[in-house]
């Protein structure tokens, strides 16, 4: 089996309750497109978002390590590959109709690893195309401050916001009349939340967890896939990707991502699943 772990900052600009989930500017919720900014597009961007606010983390997720047959391979071609989500994935909770906050599925989910002109990709496929959402709901919602702090190297988002606010306030005098409204909205948001012990910065230590089976046909759109998987023929059986989103920074409209993609070889026999109820080490199988 090959397992590739990936991590980095992602972005999603979306409205929040009680706004309609597809509200383009944000009105009643705490997430807004400020004056002059483009509409909220709801898309989860793993790379190069079309718009990013100043003084916010660089968006980009990459493969951090590759483990092949139980041994880390520091020279593997997939190491450092850019991780993309194709086809405009979105959180599809739809104001709780599909899923409550913290449980939303990401649809579509088409994972793609790119290294130069070569790529490796595969997507989820709904069991029933007429009902393509709920089987992809998040499996967990965890308040995990230590984990998030380790992953992001940010012990306090409140401190980050204070520094950011200071930078933005220093830019006010030099801002053009058209830039000033957004700058004022942004600094007002930061000030109001900092005055309430962080306010929505309280979401920072939380992470949502998903566990997906990628089932689309292997290699259909992938030029150079064989070069990314030397001496390795991937199975057509589902590949597993377990991942989490956390460290939500509402001002940056960004969050941290971590995950692992597991690919078995074509003749690799997976372990038989254990009995259905929660397994114990002492179970007789």
């Amino acid at each position: 089996m090959l397992s590739a772990t990936f991590a980095g900052w992602a972005q999603c600009r979306l409205a929040t309750d009680p706004d309609p989930y597809d509200e383009p500017r944000g009105v009643s919720g705490y997430m807004r497109a400020y004056a002059g900014e483009p509409d909220l597009d709801r898309v989860v961007h793993f790379q190069d978002p079309p718009f990013r606010r100043t003084h916010t983390p660089e968006i980009g997720i990459a493969v951090r390590s590759v483990c092949l047959h139980g041994t880390e391979d520091s020279a593997h071609p997939l190491r450092g590959a850019a991780v993309h989500l194709l086809d405009g994935p979105k959180f599809e909770g739809r104001n709780g109709v599909i899923a409550e906050d913290g449980s939303e599925p990401i649809v579509p989910f088409h994972l793609c690893l790119k290294q130069g002109s070569r790529q490796l990709s595969r997507a989820t496929m709904p069991s029933d195309p007429r009902s393509p959402y709920r089987e992809f709901n998040a499996t967990n919602f965890i308040v995990d401050p230590g984990f998030i702090e380790c992953a992001t190297n940010i012990p306090s988002l409140v401190d980050v916001w204070r520094n950011r606010l200071s930078l933005l306030e220093s830019e006010h005098a030099g801002a053009s009349p058209d830039e000033r409204p957004a700058l004022e909205e942004r600094t007002a948001f930061l000030r109001q939340n900092l005055a309430r012990q962080g306010g929505v910065a309280g979401f920072f230590p939380v992470r949502m967890v998903w566990d997906y089976q990628l089932r689309s046909p292997v290699g259909r759109r992938d030029a150079g896939m064989a070069e990314l998987l030397p001496n390795f023929t991937p199975t057509e059986e589902p590949w597993r990707v377990a991942f989490w989103f956390g460290g939500w920074d509402a001002d940056a409209q960004a969050f941290f991502v971590g995950g692992t993609l597991e690919i078995r070889e074509v003749n690799e026999v997976p372990l038989a699943p254990l009995i259905k109820r929660p397994e114990r080490m002492t179970d007789i199988v």
Binding site: P18, R25, A35, G36, D39
Partner: protein
């Protein structure tokens, strides 16, 4: 006329429900009429202002929804059903100096809203188009000369009569409705602040909440509806009353209603007409869900009935976010008649049929699900040209599936 019978009290509460409902749809119409994008001629500065004004008016509209919920609880407490239909617009009322109208964002609309929310003892606001003296209109200055507690100049009289009715009728005879038929303050929107009514004291307290919520108290007038509209109007004046609204009409309608008290602006563009009818149909289904919700009074040991009731509550709330409000915004972008002309249509909030439940409980879920099926089908058809409407239909289809499962006992 003093209220001293249950029937008179019910009639007065019906009137209160109609007024609260009519106020909130007027506020919603005005709020949803505003422009959103720079491509509509707004500068970034104006874009920020307009969004803040819209947000403020939507908060006030949601608080009026809370008042309507309280009025329905008062009805439930005395054994009467919720009152969720309302007269057509435009509508003359005996309580205000002018009619209820659906108006685009404008000085005229803001002036009328200030009159609707005028605290007792406050002078009326300057009429539309007048210069506004900011010093004279500061709520804090006026509060120092206003009586305590503040009451509505207009609707306050109605609620005072209702409160007197609750005092006059012996409470042992009056409070006969099941408490579980009322709505609790368990909606996701914390603005609603809904009170449950169990006796005379809680009824009077609930009425006080409605009366003082709108205009606040002398200590906190800055949170009142009056103060909210005042701030918007003053800022709008200071910004030279720029063109903040889409060209939506006064009192749009999909058809002539002989019960309306004045002329309407008919929507003639075929696509806009279908879209507005779809909006109205969604609005009607939302009201039907709420009527059904208020009709259920589960016993404490009936988990299945509580599940069905909770499903109706959640669906009525969610359909507002996933269908009613998005469709309203789509309608304001559609042409009123000629696609080349600048005039746009508007969400007319027409109620096409009585918001009434079938007298046969076994038929109610069937009827609700049929109405949802019709919405889903129409969304699918219109969605071929308007992708957002297609997505609305998909969401409603999922909602319909969940409600069907709850109704049948699967969930």
């Amino acid at each position: 006329m003093a209220i001293d019978t249950r029937e008179e009290l019910i009639n007065a509460l019906h009137e209160a429900c109609e007024i609260e409902h009519s106020l909130l749809v007027q506020y919603l119409y005005t709020a949803l009429s505003v422009k959103k994008g720079l491509d509509e001629g707004l500068t970034p500065h104006q874009q920020r202002l307009v969004r803040d004004w819209q947000a403020r008016m939507l908060v006030i509209a949601r608080e009026e929804m809370g008042h309507l919920g309280i009025a329905c609880n008062l009805l439930a407490a005395i054994g009467a059903p919720a009152k969720l239909d309302r007269p057509a617009m435009p509508r003359g009322t005996g309580y205000y100096p002018f009619s209820f109208d659906l108006l685009p964002f404008s000085d005229e609309a803001l002036y009328k809203f200030l009159v609707f929310e005028l605290p007792r003892g406050f002078p009326p606001p300057p009429p539309p188009g007048a210069d506004l003296d900011a010093r004279e209109m500061q709520p804090a200055a006026l509060a120092s000369v206003a009586p305590e507690p503040l009451e509505y100049e207009y609707i306050g009289e109605l609620y005072a009569k209702i409160a007197d009715g609750f005092r006059a009728i012996p409470q042992g005879q009056l409070f006969i409705g099941p408490k579980t038929a009322q709505t609790a303050n368990n909606w996701s929107d914390r603005m609603l602040d809904i009170r449950v009514v169990t006796d005379r004291a809680s009824a009077i307290a609930a009425i006080e909440n409605i009366i003082t919520d709108g205009e606040g108290t002398p200590q906190s007038t800055d949170r009142s509806h009056y103060s909210g509209f005042l701030e918007v109007r003053q800022r709008y004046f200071a910004e030279q009353r720029f063109d903040a609204a889409r060209r939506v009409p006064k009192n749009p309608a999909t058809r002539v209603n002989p019960e309306a008290d004045g002329p309407v602006t008919l929507i003639k563009n075929p696509m806009a007409l279908r879209l507005t009818e779809l909006f109205n149909a969604n609005y009607g289904v939302m009201l039907l869900m709420l009527q059904h919700y208020f009709s259920l009074a589960p016993r404490a040991d009936d988990a299945a009935a509580e599940t069905r009731r909770r499903a109706l509550q959640l669906s009525s709330q969610r359909i507002m976010s996933v269908a009613v409000r998005p469709l309203a915004e789509e309608v304001t972008k559609a042409p009123l008649d000629d696609p080349q002309a600048p005039e746009r249509a508007g969400p007319s909030f027409e109620i096409y049929s009585d918001v009434a439940l079938s007298p046969y409980p076994g038929a109610r879920w069937t009827i609700l699900l049929e109405r949802l099926d019709a919405l889903v089908a129409e969304c699918a058809d219109l969605g071929q040209e308007l992708p957002r409407v297609g997505a609305i239909g998909e969401t409603l289809s999922i909602m319909r599936g969940d409600l069907a499962a709850v109704a049948s006992g699967e969930l």
